[in-house]
């Protein structure tokens, strides 16, 4: 199988280049990550992040034939050859397929991704009804792989100011949580032409999410909440 992979080692290379590989896959090499591990047996200088190898940790997000996705849950079968692999777009490259996620996580932390509740902790848990819990479906599953935010042009142009689809999905996850008491503060923080309203609803985020989530829908929900408290 043929691959064309983005290579860049800041210690050695002046600028990035694409390197071709041709390898024979074993029958067990079903996912793209398996193929990449196979390539590493030939060329161990190829760098990439990976951990759980089953679409849960979000480490091996990369641009696969022009589309962001997780290598570990992308079947090699059906991929157009040569398979062109690049690091996630819009983030600084550390080496090969590894990007610097600092900016991404800075935006994630900016929305206070934790439950804010000033009531004294109860003896057991803070209970929710099944309906209240159902509000979090489609939100809590996000693994912060950054496929969505790095597919978003608004995040490319203003990564320092726009929270991005991943951060906004998480923001809505806490806005939608019946146990959270900081709704007004969260909406105040987000009511900003850059933080929230750089979203122009082009839906790249929803298109690429490897977990099948819908960040744009979450963003629309935030806008609806804001509209309801304003009009």
């Amino acid at each position: 199988m043929k691959f064309s992979i983005y290579r860049f080692d800041p210690d050695k290379d002046e600028k990035p280049y694409m390197q071709d590989y041709e390898i024979t896959l074993e029958p067990a090499d079903r996912m793209l990550l398996d193929a990449l591990i196979r390539i590493k047996t030939v060329d161990d200088s190829l760098s990439l992040r990976r951990s759980c190898r089953e679409g849960v940790c979000g480490s091996d997000a990369m641009n696969i034939n022009g589309r962001n996705g997780l290598a570990c849950i992308t079947p090699v079968k059906g991929l157009r050859e040569p398979v062109e692999l690049r690091p996630l777009p819009g983030l600084p490259v550390i080496r090969d397929l590894i990007v610097d996620m600092t900016q991404f996580f800075k935006q994630y932390h900016s929305i206070k991704p934790y439950l804010i509740n000033d009531d004294p902790p109860p003896e057991t848990e803070r209970l929710q009804s099944p309906e209240e819990r159902a509000e979090l479906d489609g939100l809590y599953e996000c693994i912060l792989c950054a496929c969505c935010s790095t597919a978003c042009p608004s995040f490319w142009w203003n990564p320092d100011k726009y929270v991005g689809p991943a951060g906004l999905l998480q923001a809505y996850r806490f806005l939608a949580d019946s146990r959270d008491q900081a709704t007004a503060e969260r909406l105040d923080y987000l009511e900003d032409p850059y933080r929230l309203f750089r979203c122009h609803s082009i839906m790249n985020c929803t298109d690429v999410c490897p977990k099948g989530l819908n960040p744009m829908e979450a963003i629309s929900q935030i806008k609806t909440m804001m509209t309801k408290r304003t009009i």
Partner: protein, 120 residues
């Protein structure tokens, strides 16, 4: 001495109204476009005189003016979005935003002139 805030802890408190206005103005323009298309289909003006008669109707002028105001407002929000996306130097962005506002205001005044004053 006033200490400079390290970071903005709250939002700029605007953005929602523009986002909402963009949708409302779009709806106004869509309705007007359908209305105008209907009028032109039912009784297509044959010449300049009949076209002018159509716009002699005050309601037609008011509807057209509402459409144009919606268009300019919509264009302002869209243009500022483009400038916010791509122009990162705050000074240049401000100058371009002022130019856009002045142009759109001129167009609005010009629309009044065309619809009510101009009797060419």
């Amino acid at each position: 001495m006033v200490k400079r805030p390290v970071r903005a802890v709250t939002g700029a408190h605007y953005g929602l109204r523009d986002w909402l206005a963009q949708r409302v103005t779009a709806a106004v323009m869509a309705i007007y476009t359908l209305m105008l298309a209907g009028v032109l289909l039912v009784s297509p003006p044959q010449d300049y005189a009949s076209f002018k008669t159509l716009f002699d109707n005050q309601w037609m002028r008011v509807a057209s003016f509402l459409f144009l105001l919606s268009l300019f407002w919509h264009a302002w929000i869209g243009m500022r979005n483009i400038l916010m996306d791509y122009i990162h130097a705050a000074g240049i962005r401000l100058i371009l935003e002022i130019l856009v506002i002045l142009s759109l205001l001129s167009y609005a005044i010009w629309s009044v002139e065309i619809l009510w004053i101009g009797e060419g």
